[in-house]
Symmetry: C2
Subunit: 346 residues, 2 copies
DNA sequence: GAAACCTGAGCGTGATATGAA
DNA sequence: GTTCATATCACGCTCAGGTTT
């Protein structure tokens, strides 16, 4: 009955312990554990066996300390944003094949972006991927002087070497939504905006531009909104009582649109009969059969891939001391997903 | 114009660089950086100044490698669970004052619990906090032999030293919901369950027990459900068409309940007029003015505090070689939050 | 004796240099 | 020349134990 493995009392097993057990040098064990070449098949098996027996695990920290490259991508994200969760899925998926690990640092109540980033830097991340960062541009610029930084979803003017932006063409998304509604025959189209949220300004602008281009400038109506259901609900209450009531509404995002749908439903405003509603994000919510929301889809997978790709490209090109990779603004096209909340006006 | 700080070419600054600049030993710099005693006020200032000038940051990994304690709590969580996000907020808040850092590892598509845990172990975490783990009990038991493990929300029978469970009294929550409905005058109360989700079995059992205790055994009706809006919607479609239709529904969680509400609304089933609906979790969703869901609240803050507390207690008591701290099952009482979706039956 | 500072060793790895089959 | 194995050092830091005022 092998109760506990024969592991050095208390301590966690190290290379040396495995080496002793297998009767080889620590260097050889290191080679085997890394899967590097330079060890015979028989010995390799013997070492792995010994490692298994005493429950050896490589110490990531010692490893990183020794090797000059950490192959770590630091990702800052917000705990309360499902959109970030989706991005993280994509980031994990993209980082692995590229040979990089992901270190997470959450922004939470009482744990601001400053703290989150400091943790990542202390952990020796080689590059930072910031999801919807709110930090001042100056701060990001300063960071970018130290290491490659990718800002996802937050647009930035500053063009600093090492600072890249990956985002959806928010204005284009708003345009697609307006075009769709106009094609259906709508003219009185309102927009519930996202305030200071990342992308809100572009969506607002895209809405305005598209309305003007269709000669519907006089119908432009922007209501203060936000990212939550409640924000949408509040704006919808205003709209439900408005005379004339718009025949279509473009909400800042899907959560906001959900709030709109709910209030309309309760107020006896039929969707899409009386009013058409369009969201933004194509979140899981929008796809649900009982919500079935027409929405502007962001290509989350593509955003994640690009974010990782740019960070990695920066790192590899830095290695080569080359700077030919263009720094900049990487914009992904959105695509309208037509579902059941839009129809021609009565 | 101080373009770049006088930092050693390419390399990131180390203790030695700061020491050289300040004209002291590395040991002293270490003391200053840690805020330990053993340095004069003047020197301390000089060292900090030098560190600032060259942009020095302590290397967390080297630090951990040297010190035998890592003071790291490894937390495994699911990306797609808002409930986990809320728990993480609490865990961060609780870990800091206790003097521990948090290392996150997400479970995502293509990144199972095994991988997530291995990362945490390689990072030298001293204890693991697993949010809603799905791994086989045997695996958790094995882990618990290596280090303190706290399972949150997932109940486990095995009583292994070092394995602790922190959870809500799910059965009690279901009981409170049933009691509330019965007190309102309901008798025909259905339950949409959570399948194999953590806590689902207990809630199901709590529902059954409570119904029986009220002499309503003949009304017991459990519909297969799940954790998502869609699961709730599917079950609600069944219920809306059922004859007799129950006068009240207890859903597995708030998301599930939201799906129920939506289907009822569209089918012309008034809530709470025709049917009362109760959720579980008291999530942000439930609190929204336009959802206004009666629900069973989990004390997330308390769960998080307890999870961290138990992990830390284990660690500190291990240090003292004492084992007096009871291993076990820590159960937090839920509390019913009465809102607008429950009322006496017609 | 205390306070301020330094020296030296070593944490667990990975890389290089070197040697033996 | 190739394959397999080892010895040795360095990574950046902390800590125990000195030495000096």
């Amino acid at each position: 009955m092998p109760a506990t493995p024969a592991v050095p009392a208390g301590r966690r097993p190290t290379l040396a312990d495995v080496a002793a057990r297998a009767g080889v040098s620590t260097a050889l064990v290191s080679i085997v554990m890394r899967g590097a070449k330079g060890a015979g098949a028989a010995t390799r098996e013997r070492v792995l066996e010994a490692a298994r027996e005493i429950g050896y695990r490589p110490d990531a920290r010692a490893r990183l300390l020794r090797s000059h490259r950490s192959h770590l991508l630091g990702v800052q994200f917000g705990l309360q944003h499902p959109f970030h969760s989706d991005l993280l899925e994509g980031i994990y998926a993209a980082a692995e094949p590229a040979g990089y690990q992901v270190a997470l640092s959450a922004v939470a109540a009482g744990r601001g972006e400053q703290r989150a980033v400091e943790t990542l830097l202390a952990d020796r991340c080689e590059a930072l991927i910031l999801l919807g960062p709110q930090a001042p541009a100056a701060r990001l610029t300063e960071l970018a002087r130290q290491l490659p930084v990718v800002s996802v979803a937050r647009r930035l003017r500053a063009s600093v070497p090492g600072l890249e932006v990956v985002r959806t063409a928010d204005d284009e998304g708003a345009r697609q939504a307006v075009d769709h509604l106009v094609a259906l025959g709508h003219r009185d189209i309102a927009h519930i905006d996202g305030g200071r949220a990342p992308g809100a300004a572009d969506r607002r602008r895209g809405y305005r531009t598209a309305m003007n281009r269709h000669g519907l400038g006089e119908y432009i109506r922007v209501l203060p909104g936000g990212l939550t259901e409640e924000d949408g609900a509040a704006a919808a209450r205003t709209l439900a009582a408005a005379r004339p009531r718009p025949t279509a509404v473009l909400a800042f995002n899907d959560r906001c649109a959900t709030g709109v749908l709910d209030v309309f439903l309760r107020s006896g405003v039929a969707v899409p009969g009386d009013v058409s509603v369009v969201g933004f994000d194509d979140s899981h919510l929008a796809r649900l059969a009982h919500i079935n929301l027409t929405t502007v889809g962001q290509d989350i997978t593509r955003l994640a891939e690009l974010a990782v790709g740019r960070a990695v490209a920066r790192l590899e090109s830095d290695d080569l001391e080359s700077d030919e990779t263009a720094v900049g603004d990487h914009v992904i096209a959105p695509h309208l997903v037509v579902r059941g909340t839009t129809a021609p006006p009565r």
